[in-house]
């Protein structure tokens, strides 16, 4: 199997593979500003939740998500914010909330649903499955396909 480890690109006379993911379109830069934004958003979402306004909390939480490979800590923090909003919704309200979102927002929501399901030790998968069902009902399979292809991971 030694040949499997050979980097064939080095024998090509063309230019070699360049990893563009760091500079991929839409990925968030590491900066104090990004972190401050995420913290501020977490506060606002908490405010909405304490007032019992879950729909506004969900919409706020899905705003301007940090994405990309570099900003893991910030992404984790933002995921926690989104999850707190999703967990607060009553199961009977989920469909109405999803229906009020536009297509960009449902795509972001779907990304966070999968992000949450990737850490079952942190987030309640039963809640996420309920959200997943309603989101597919509204946005179709296309929203799942876009989670798979999108390189701006959350």
């Amino acid at each position: 199997m030694a040949h499997r480890k050979v980097n064939v690109d080095q024998y090509a006379d063309e230019d070699i593979f360049v990893d563009e993911n760091q500079t991929a379109q839409g990925s968030t830069a590491v900066s104090a500003q990004t972190e401050a934004d995420v913290d501020a958003r977490a506060g606002e979402v908490r405010n909405y939740l304490s007032r019992g306004d879950t729909p506004a909390a969900v919409i706020k939480a899905l705003e301007n998500p940090p994405a990309g490979r570099e900003v893991t800590a910030v992404k984790d923090k933002n995921t926690a914010t989104v999850m707190s909003a999703l967990a607060a919704a009553r199961s009977t309200d989920i469909l109405a909330i999803v229906k009020s979102l536009d297509s960009k927002q449902t795509d972001v929501l779907m990304k966070y649903i999968y992000r949450g399901m990737a850490s079952p030790e942190l987030y309640n998968a039963a809640v996420l499955l309920a959200w997943h069902e309603k989101t597919v009902e509204v946005a179709g399979l296309g929203s799942i396909v876009r989670v798979l292809t999108d390189r701006r991971t959350v």
Partner: protein, 369 residues
Amino acid sequence: MSSPEVYQLAIGTPITCHAFNKDRTQLAVSPNSNDVEIYQKGRTGQWELLHTLAKHDRMVTGIDWAPNTNRLVTCSQDRNAYVWDWDGKKWEPNLCLLRINRAATFVQWSPKEDKFAVASGARLISVCYFEQENNWWVSKHIKKPIRSTITSIAWHPDNMLLAAGSTDMKARVFSAYIKGVDSPRTYPLWGEKLPFNTLCGEFGSEGGGWVHSVGFSPSGDSVAWVSHDSTLSIAHGRDSVPVEVPTGGLPLVSMIWTSETSIVAVGHDCTPFLFALRGQQWEVIGKLDQGQKKAAASSSAFKMFQQMDSRAQQQNNEVELNTTHQNTITCVRAYAGSPDHVTKFSTSGVDGKLVIWDLLSSGMAGLSI
């Protein structure tokens, strides 16, 4: 709704791509092998196999039939392209020197039929033209700034510009101006000075998703593409911001413009989708195959035991979809009408079927497109 014409050309074999001749009496298909099959429409209305063109030695990935010169061009994973001339008795192959080191993936004649472009996995496009003095098809390469396999190409109606979709998530517009073949000209939307390989536009979607298919609108002012993120995107000129139309379905893999304001796209959902410009906005109008409810498969225990008894079947493995195509549709082409008013289109797919659809009577007639 008049039902579409359905032909089961291959059984158990996908149809990779298909192309019709000018009067639609003959049909070339690649049955997912290294052969190209030419069919003729028989008296019974069925397609009868006329010739098998066996020259490639890997799978044929692209076929295009030039309507006026009646020439075929085919490309294959064996890295070659052949131009086939009909000499009255048989199809005569002429090799074209593509100079590529990866598979060829797609081929298309230019509108004037004096050039064709071959997409390939070698991160380049070979633009081929006939050199009189050498009596040979030669090629020029469009290389920059392509970073990955080209999956699809489309010619501008003016014979000079070329749109290309790539797995590096970008759709691009290039100049394919060949000295001695084309006369130089300019486009208000795509650029002024256009020597060969000029990049006249580079578009990507935010989400990413490799591009499966591209197409120029009948006027050549807009370029549209479908990508693996289940999205149709449309750009109008080199500096425009593309409009994105996300769909709720599985990815679309092939598309055509049916007028300046409407697009038909096909893909993994086994049914053609119609998109149209309504007011200022591009929208998914709907599925063109409404599907017929098949007799509901009963899954009762009684039925299961009955099947085990009568057909020695353990379980019912035959899944039948409600749609005409029973698997992914991989190719869509205009069949009748003019470029800016396509009335019929043909599709072929993994289920080995060729289907001819009437756009007007396909249940969407009431819509003003």
